[in-house]
Symmetry: C2
Subunit: 338 residues, 2 copies
């Protein structure tokens, strides 16, 4: 490996001089600067950032922890995060918790020892508080993205889940639906609670009774126990519409309905939070509330970098990003009205 000493020897200067030209620090005569630069080129020298990190106590690495790398929302978010990081001279370490606390913990341990300069964190659930506490112990700055955690004070980039869910629900109501099922994420995740609140709020506004028996809960990426859905379909007064709290759930639900021969939207209307990536381009079918996923990532990283630079002197910042309802074809009037 070529080091600054190799360069120094060849250039007949000290290692410090080489270091200075690399970092453009201190005054250096044009002559030696050119000479050193030339030799660095010749020898294909590349600074060792490990060594630099050790002395400077910073790695210029940020970490992004998401809960589902196969979900287009998170990959688009990742894209935004990567762009921002790259733009500001940071590298990005990715992690995928799969919505699992155990994987999340392993990942937190990993980044702790890697000494990243900061973390953009999408917590798997409220229980992530414990992992966040570890970050605090070790003074690693972090920004929460997409989800918040009760009791944890931090910079955050969140969606307007409540308003978005209310709009989607009201849209169904405007179509004539009064029996609207909610297939939600787990109650331990803030977005699920907020979407639930928005749903309920819309119902109340229109004096539609809230019925717990048509509220279902699943993990955002694990739609396994279909019996629950089956149960509400077999009710004497089954729902005529389903509000799925995220895209994966919506996709699974529609597949399930298709297998049962239940047409969407003829027999059942379906809307959901989050767009479905390529699917909506291939066939603009699903009516959704789209979140600005790229912005989540981009602004999250920016916030994080500002936090790192300002240490604890900046006051806490929370950004709320609105979602945008896109009406397509998966919801229509309830069948009994036709």
């Amino acid at each position: 490996m070529i080091t600054i000493y190799d360069i120094a020897k060849r250039a007949n200067v000290s290692a410090m001089t080489v270091s200075r030209v690399i970092n453009n620090s201190g005054r250096i005569s044009a002559g030696t600067r050119e000479k050193v630069k030339r030799i660095m080129e010749e020898l294909n020298y590349i600074p060792n950032s490990t060594a630099r990190s050790l002395v400077k106590q910073e790695t210029k690495m940020l970490s992004l922890l998401i809960t589902d790398i196969t979900n287009p929302f998170f990959t688009t978010l990742a894209r935004g995060a990567e762009d921002a990081a790259h733009q500001f001279g940071y590298k990005l370490l990715f992690g995928n918790s799969d919505e699992k606390l155990s994987k999340e913990k392993e990942y937190v341990d990993m980044v702790l020892s890697t000494r990243v300069d900061g973390l953009l964190f999408a917590p798997a659930s409220d229980a992530s508080a414990e992992h966040l506490a570890m970050l605090n112990v070790h003074r690693i700055p972090f920004v929460l993205v997409d989800r918040e955690v009760p009791g944890v004070e931090a910079d955050m980039v969140l969606g307007e889940n409540r308003a978005g869910a209310a709009s989607l629900t009201e849209y169904l109501v405007s179509l004539g639906h009064t029996r609207i099922a909610l297939v939600n994420g787990l109650g331990t995740v803030s977005t699920a609670r907020e979407r639930h609140a928005g749903y309920r709020e819309a119902l109340e506004r229109h004096r539609i009774p809230y019925d717990e028996s048509i509220i279902l809960e699943y993990g955002y990426n694990r739609f396994d126990d279909l019996d629950q859905l089956d149960r509400i379909l077999r009710m004497p007064d089954p729902p005529t519409a389903i509000f799925a709290a995220n895209n994966m759930l919506a996709v699974s639900i529609i597949g399930y309905l298709r297998d049962k021969g239940i047409g969407v939207p003829e027999h059942m209307s379906v809307v959901c939070f989050e767009d479905v990536g390529m699917a909506s381009k291939l066939d603009p079918f699903l009516t959704v509330a789209v979140q600005p996923a790229y912005e989540f990532g981009y602004r999250g990283i920016r916030l994080l970098i500002e936090r790192i630079r300002s240490k604890d002197e900046m006051e806490r910042r929370v950004i709320r990003l609105p979602s945008d309802m896109i009406v397509r074809k998966s919801a229509g009037a309830p069948p009994d009205r036709l």
Copy 2:
């Protein structure tokens, strides 16, 4: 920051003893081991891997460079890579070249200075050879994934593009099509060349004339200049089917046809290489050749780790992964036969 010296002082041992219990190396009396461990717990000690990397000359970090982070093929590949890396105790640094050589170069420079132990590399084009050469200069092991580069000898995980493309084409032929357009990726990318070869091979096998005027070339992620497509649609004898060389192209083409009021498959059959993620779950519509994307990533990382461990003593390995044709509904008999 807590260091091994802090632990050592509290435990009345030397730093080396602490280092030994951390690494389970050398013989240590059960007593001191326990004592040291307890104190590490108390102080929330976490080893500084930057320092460790510097002395051990390895970072336990691998890097994955893909060309499109929004393409489900690559995110699934990434998922496999991450699983493998995690399983073998490596961290994964992600990069996204966007099919652009300039971004690829920046990324290569970055990882070079980060001193990752190895790279899983999906080259943007044949011109990536230059960047690969830089890796060789600095003795960074790498494995090529999805695409190969002429003149570059390396371990690789590739798809059976030729056979897959031939199957897809033959399927169209079996449906009765004889005018089949190919909307391909750039000729500077190995997969595009191989898919083209497979297409041509199938045509020849069935004595169908090969017509260059219905071969189009686009970047895999940039389907902009639609005039080309328009031109072949207006031909006196337009194609009755289109073979899109990747998923993004297929999605764009179908959107374009839809806007023109051309129904798929009634007026035009469309098939493509690569599945379309959620879209195929939401509506199993597109007939495709699916590649085992997860395996690409998982096996790529395994190959890379084996290469790192064996230095240059292992012989070169090339893994070819077959694709699987899934017949859905986007292709049918040519309209003039109905």
